[in-house]
């Protein structure tokens, strides 16, 4: 299970991590988000401790969504030392998601 992150604890969670952090921006009304979600679960299982995974509900956390200019979902952002190092928009199959993340491990 991937932990939910919120406007309130976003900065601390992102900045404190010693590994790359992945945030999946989603909403309950978004079909592709629903399809991506089990893929992210699988990838997080496979990458174990090497990457920290979060998901953020854009409806409930509009501040962070707007700070990162989320205009399409799903959007997945990779952070390293608190900075955005990579990003993809839309569904991706598991292998493709892993390829993006493995670049940053």
């Amino acid at each position: 299970m991937i932990e939910e992150i919120k406007d309130e604890n976003f900065s601390t969670s992102i900045n404190q991590a010693s590994t790359p952090v992945v945030v999946d921006f989603w909403a309950s009304w978004c079909g592709p988000c629903k399809m991506l979600s089990p893929i992210m679960d699988e990838v997080s299982g496979e990458l174990g401790e090497k990457v920290k995974f979060f998901k953020l509900n854009v409806d409930e956390n509009p501040n962070i969504a707007s700070e990162f200019k989320i205009s399409s979902i799903p959007t997945v952002i990779v952070f390293k030392d608190g900075n955005v190092v990579d990003k993809f928009v839309g569904f991706k199959p598991k292998q493709a998601v892993k390829e993006v993340l493995e670049k940053h491990i």
Partner: protein
Amino acid sequence: MENTRYDIAIIGSGPAGLSAAINAKVRNKNIIVFGIQELSNKIIKAPKINNYLGFYDITGIELRDRFKEHIENLGISITFERINEVYAMGDYFALDVNGKMYESKTIILATGIEYTKPLKGEEKFLGKGVGYCATCDAPLYKGKTVTIIGYNKEAEDDANYVSELAKTTYYVPMYKKELALNENIKILNDRVVEIQGTDKVDKVVFENNEIATDGVFVLKDSVSPTQLVPGLEMENNHIKVNLDMKTNIKGCFAAGDCTGKPYQYIKSAGQGQVAALNAVTYLDSMVKLS
């Protein structure tokens, strides 16, 4: 919705898709074929065909009728629905038709090559204000300005939906038909020149005008294969396949014009057959594994 997971879902009803269908059917696979009533808009326009072996001096419509007779004799029917997006879930595929999902173990893409050329700026700002699914992303534009570039009547429904959330909705029809739009939608009958912005979209430039906008939805008849199947690898604007008609995604095959030139009927039919036979082999190997 019935909970069938098909063995093979074939997307496209041209010669590649139909040849794949008949070959999969005779091997007793549970298939579904997505396509159109006319089977192929290209074939019916052909005045005379002389390079389809065995059918000398035939018109496109006659050849189409032969195809129709052939699939009907094998009990193959076409599902007249348009697939919006295909999700590769690992050991199966989820095919989305406006929120309704079909599932299949393998897919064969036989979509032809008719997709519209992207607008200037469309690809650059994809995900940065440009989107293809208004119903997916509309809530992100609550209280903002949205422009919808619509290539078909269905886009009008999406525009009406967006207009309930957005502050201002513009609609740019790319066709000539009477529009059924909510009163609060502003219609722009002008030619789109470019979608512009810096790090995200901020305006649409027209031949005679320009408008400030937070988002642009481009709603087309047919989408490029990479939008249809996210993660699909392309090469020179075609789907990259090997001689087995395999794509880079496990269980996903492609055949016909969408895989490259030459654009010919019998080549498409041949590739459809190769794709179907390899899909069957792949299905058999899955059975052995489980």
